[in-house]
Amino acid sequence: MSAKKPWCTRVTSDAKTTHIPWLGAAVLLLLPVAVLILGQFLPTYPLRVLDMILLYAILGLGLNIVVGYAGLLDLGFVAFYAIGAYSWALLASGQFDIHLPFWLVLIIGAGLAGIAGILLGIPVLRLRGDYLAIVTLGFGEIIRVLMNNLDGLTNGPQGIARIDEAHLFGWTLSTPLDFLYLLVGLLIIAFLFVWRIEGSALGTALSAVREDQDAARGCGIDTTRVKLVAFCTSAMIGGAGGVVFAAMQRFVSPESFTFWESLVIVLVIVVGGLGNPFGAILGATLLILIPEMLRAWADYRLLLYGIALVLIILSRPRGLLPRAYGPSWLMRRLGGGR
């Protein structure tokens, strides 16, 4: 196990003082600042790629709650993402001539996705995890088929175009750089949120569910309910990501929400490192950048992508940044305290 490192054997003092490791906090803050500075100098296209990396990092953080912490395989995450995207597309466009503000739709999109998560989770989460994998996969397809066929609502395969420009408290989000600011902000929020979960009682309960469900129940944990909370939270992050995606593209169609998207998000966290928030960021960077770099190979792109994935998983089955090397570890290393 990777966690058997000398610093882990040190006794935790039972001192109650909350020591803030300034160095660790500084390093964590430096990263987004660096990204924002980098964003000032990038031309439009690389900036769009950077936006996509951040968006996938957010989605990865969300999915990580279910896959990384609770240890359940969700192969239909794109459904929640799609629900969010269509929320913005329907509630802020000429489709029904509804034009709600961005912040409100962000909440509505996340809320609808969360409700969908609960409705899907209730029948399935008490069963084996494998069933969850296949049922979520099926759910992703159902949502896509619905969007393809509910012509009156979604315009079917043509999708919804001419979606409103997003405004956030008087600030117009139009250029990729605007979205970079928004995404960096959302990523920080999602990161802190997920990190908080990890350290909280909910995180402890989720880890116990992942390690040994039966013993967890013996310890008084209502595993079904805890899984449901995880599933709902993760769906909400997916929904919020979808709203931002739709606002960024200003066009949505069912084509953007295929199984392939779910797969990419799962791979983001597996390649990066399950249960590690840094892993989601690293994974998103690699999985968005690699296909960009393979663009020159055109037709061979996906083949090479597949091979790269198998090789990464074979060489690092626990991901590039294993669970034990998360933000808390960084804080311990750099903070000096505790």
Partner: protein, 313 residues
């Protein structure tokens, strides 16, 4: 009216045969390794295209006897691909976590699908029919020879598999490993042999299903595996994953549900739910069945205490 139902039953049996053949591959792998072999659906596609390539290479066109020859060779080739996939992509990950091999399988699915695309091209190809032509009318229902052949081939293969697993020495080894790999290795059975055998037979059956499917519909495209594979896996769960008779039952049942639902739903709902929802009937049924029979129809009866595994992945 009666003849309409009969007609639909026959259509259901045809689709069901194909689902069942693919479901067998999923269920056998799952039974032994508790792995969802996502590459299986792409091996089904690969089987169809290899069959097509062989027909061209051997200079045989759509003739039933050529079909048997092509079927056997394809079975072996795809079987060997299946064995290599297991050795390369799954075996090194055994014992790490349950998630890693499953994702490796997803990666292999991408690799195989794109390899097929690179060789055969993006556009769907017209498929020569290896199945006999002609129709026969039974009580007003029209049955094509193709349908009869598909059903017959599927039944022969299933009976063969059943006999192999239950009556032969090798089959007993497979069952022993499926039951408990550790105990099996204690009594001198090498689990790897049994696992390789499973990865030979499962994809082989899937490949034959690919040829039958493409022959029936007359086209083959490199993306056709995904949805069919997903439904076949659903069929495997429906019947009780890990159970060979369960996969067969699940396959036929799913074929029936889909055929009848597609035919009757538009009528029953006044056109509100049309045939375009064909692909999602399967999942709706799956969720309903899981609610009432979590272990599937023929799965081992599980009480609450064994329902929850130590950890899911």
């Amino acid at each position: 009216m009666g003849s309409v139902i009969l007609q639909q039953t026959i259509n259901a049996l045809t689709v069901g045969s194909i689902y069942a053949l693919i479901a067998l591959g999923y269920t056998m792998v799952y039974g032994v390794l508790r792995l969802i072999n996502f590459a299986h659906s792409e091996l089904f596609t690969a089987g169809a295209f290899i069959g097509l390539g062989l027909a061209g290479a051997l200079g045989v066109s759509g003739h039933p006897f050529a079909g048997v020859l092509v079927g056997v060779i394809t079975f072996v080739i795809v079987g060997l691909i299946g064995v290599s996939v297991e050795i390369v992509a799954y075996r090194p990950l055994r014992g790490t976590s349950r998630l890693a091999p499953m994702l490796s399988a997803l990666g292999m699915a991408v690799v195989i699908q794109n390899a097929v695309m690179l060789i055969a091209g993006r556009r769907p190809l017209i498929y020569p029919s290896f199945l006999p032509n002609g129709v026969v009318e039974i009580f007003g229902a029209i049955v094509t020879y193709k349908q009869i052949t598909i059903f017959a081939v599927a039944v022969i293969l299933m009976v063969g598999l059943e006999l192999f697993v239950n009556r032969t020495n090798l089959g007993v080894r497979i069952r022993a490993v499926a039951e408990n790999a550790e105990t099996a290795s204690l009594v001198g059975i090498n689990p790897n042999t049994a696992i390789s055998l499973i990865f030979f037979i499962g994809p082989g059956l899937g490949a034959v299903a690919g040829i039958l499917y493409s022959s029936f519909y007359g086209v083959a495209s490199f993306t056709m595996g995904f949805v069919i594979g997903m439904k076949a896996f659903t069929a495997a769960i429906l019947g009780g994953i890990g159970s060979i008779p369960g996969a067969v039952l699940g396959g036929f049942l799913l074929g029936a549900i889909e055929t009848f639902a597609t035919a009757w739903m538009p009528v029953l709902t006044g056109g509100l739910i049309g045939t375009e929802y064909r692909d999602i009937f399967a999942f709706s049924v799956l969720v309903l069945i899981l609610l009432f029979r979590p272990a599937g129809l023929l799965g081992e009866h599980v009480s609450e205490e064994t329902m929850v595994y130590k950890s899911d992945f």
